[in-house]
């Protein structure tokens, strides 16, 4: 399997605090990887480094062997690393259609080199993505008026509309109802054919159901890595995270 993303000694310090310390992470193309760990383990900081929202203090990030460490967030999106926010971040005053259209338009512009003129072309893609996540009936709804679960789905839709190589989902199921989580899991599983997925998740059921590989973090470092069954068996992890 090809390596999509590789980090070497990735670190981030905030003043004296070492949020992420010497992380070497390898992601293969097409895999679903979960990162778990207690609060404050550095999970969100790590993916913020990957997505360019934060600059690393040291270390390198490679995407398809290309060094992208110093790229800005918007350039990383252009190279296929797409981040969906832990705290839902939408264009709350605009309709779902517009929310996704902004993402689609950005993606088309990258592929074709200029901003698309034809709205029909955008509309086609917007509808496709809204259907994919299952909120096509809410096309005209103002995003701020959507139910929370639907806002999370819209957030994912905007990520998908950017056609990522690597989709980073930061606690996507937080605050969702049981039935919504089920829908969400089947959605994510369906995506893994066409992209690599990096998932930060607290809900162990979701992690065990979706992830092919799990990375356990604690205090900014990688504690363990392996398949779900290996991790489940790892006693050290159980003590630190699963609560023994």
């Amino acid at each position: 399997m090809n390596t999509l993303l590789k980090t070497e000694g990735l670190s981030k310090h905030f003043g004296g605090l070492q949020a992420v310390e010497g992380v070497d992470l390898d992601l293969n193309e097409g895999e679903i990887r979960a990162i778990i760990g207690p609060n404050g383990a550095g999970k969100t900081t790590l993916v913020s480094l990957l997505s360019g929202r934060l600059r690393p203090s040291s270390g390198r990030i490679h995407l398809n062997q290309k060094d992208i460490t110093s790229f800005s967030a918007s350039r990383k999106v252009q190279f296929g690393i797409v981040y969906t926010f832990q705290v839902t971040s939408l264009f709350f005053n605009l309709s779902c259609y517009e929310n996704v259209a902004i993402a689609v338009q950005g993606c088309r512009a990258r592929e074709e080199g200029f901003l698309p003129r034809r709205e029909s072309d955008i509309r086609l893609n917007v509808r496709k993505v809204l259907e994919q996540v299952g909120i096509q009936e809410n096309e005209e709804t103002i995003a701020g008026n959507l139910a929370y679960g639907h806002q999370r789905l819209l957030e994912v839709a905007m990520g998908l509309a950017s056609r990522p190589k690597l989709l980073i989902l930061d606690e996507p199921t937080q605050g969702l109802a049981e039935s919504e989580i089920k829908h969400f899991c089947s959605l994510i599983r369906g995506l893994s054919d066409s992209m690599t997925i990096l998932l930060i998740e607290h809900n162990m059921q979701v992690v065990l159901e979706l992830a092919e590989q799990i990375t356990v973090m604690d205090q900014g470092r990688i504690l363990a890595e392996g398949t779900p069954s290996e991790i489940e068996a790892n006693i050290a992890v159980q003590e630190s995270y699963l609560g023994g």
């Binding site: 918007s74 350039r75 999106v77 971040s89 939408l90 264009f91 605009l94 990258r110 901003l115 950017s162």
Partner: protein, 308 residues
């Protein structure tokens, strides 16, 4: 939109002389406010230095005519060129900041332009400014020749400027670029995380906004034959903000409505009392409380949600 343009065009045959000339003025100033609105209403950036663009256009055009004997149209071109340059340069600097810092940086540069006008008084004639009445040659179109100060010409030129600004604004906000600008206004961080280089888009908005404001300044110089430092003062930067807030931020017709109402409000109240600004201020406060989204914003919210 076409209806408003048609109405304004027809009004020139109906309005009495005084209102006729007032309307010419309002349309020019509304175009200035529309330039301002592109930045505040559609990109979410509040500038307090827009008088620098207006006065750059005004002085570049005025000086070209007064000192170098250019005719109106080339002088207009020089005015626009200079404002494009100034607004782009300012954007390169000021857009590294946002929010209050952006406000202060634009304010400071606005003051710098004002003080430069006073300083280089051999060109600008300082605070007093200069008139173009003698220097400006009439505009020749084919066989006909028009004086810039002729009321009919003035009205139609102002109308044309207003129509141009309105069309440009409409094209912009319905275009893919407009969509990105609105996205920046709503949530800049999210827009970045969708892969847009928001800095470049903001620079574009700033340049276009400055260019439209500068064009209004250039036209103002030609039509009203006067170039003066009052147009570079801070209160002339605040004016388009008030007009836009009153008429409706982020609406295409708001600036016209706001400029018109404000003009007539000052006109009427100053007829009664010397403390007219107190009354105008009180009315503005009431309006902001009653309709924080401005008059056109209110109309859009209550009746016509499709208004651009």
């Amino acid at each position: 939109m076409a209806g408003v343009l048609l109405l304004l065009f027809v009004l020139q045959f109906i309005l009495p002389a005084y209102h006729h000339s007032t309307f010419s003025k309002i349309m020019v100033l509304a175009s200035y406010a529309m330039g301002f609105n592109i930045l505040l209403g559609y990109t979410g950036l509040m500038s307090l230095g827009h008088a620098m663009f207006f006065s750059t256009g005004m002085y570049a055009t005025g000086i070209s005519v007064y000192h170098f004997g250019y005719t109106g149209i080339p002088a207009l071109g020089i005015g626009v060129l200079c404002t494009v340059l100034v607004s782009m340069l300012l954007g390169l600097v000021a857009l590294r900041t946002s929010g209050v810092s952006f406000l202060i940086v634009t304010l400071m540069f606005g003051q710098a332009v004002f003080l430069s006008i006073l300083y280089f008084d051999q060109f600008t004639l300082g605070q007093d400014g200069f008139t173009l009445t003698k220097e400006l040659e009439p505009l020749v179109l084919g066989n006909a020749s028009y004086s810039y100060t002729d009321p009919t010409f003035k009205y139609n030129a102002a109308w044309f400027l207003f129509a141009l600004s309105l069309v440009i604004t409409n094209i912009l906000i319905l275009s893919p670029i407009g969509r990105v600008l609105i996205a920046i206004r709503e949530n800049e961080e999210r827009t970045q995380m969708l892969g847009y280089n928001t800095y470049l888009y903001k620079l574009f908005a700033m340049t276009l906004s400055g260019a439209l404001s500068g064009l209004a300044g250039s036209v103002h110089a030609l039509l009203f034959s006067y170039v003066g430092a009052t147009f570079a003062e801070i209160h002339h930067s605040i004016a388009p903000l008030l007009w836009t807030l009153l008429g409706g931020v982020g609406t295409t017709l708001g600036p016209l409505l706001g400029t018109g109402i404000m003009h007539y409000l000052i006109d009427f109240t100053s007829g009664w009392t010397s403390a007219y600004l107190l009354i105008v201020g009180a009315i503005l406060v009431l309006l902001v409380i009653g309709a924080p989204q401005g008059l056109m914003g209110l109309v859009r919210q209550k009746r016509f949600p499709w208004l651009p």
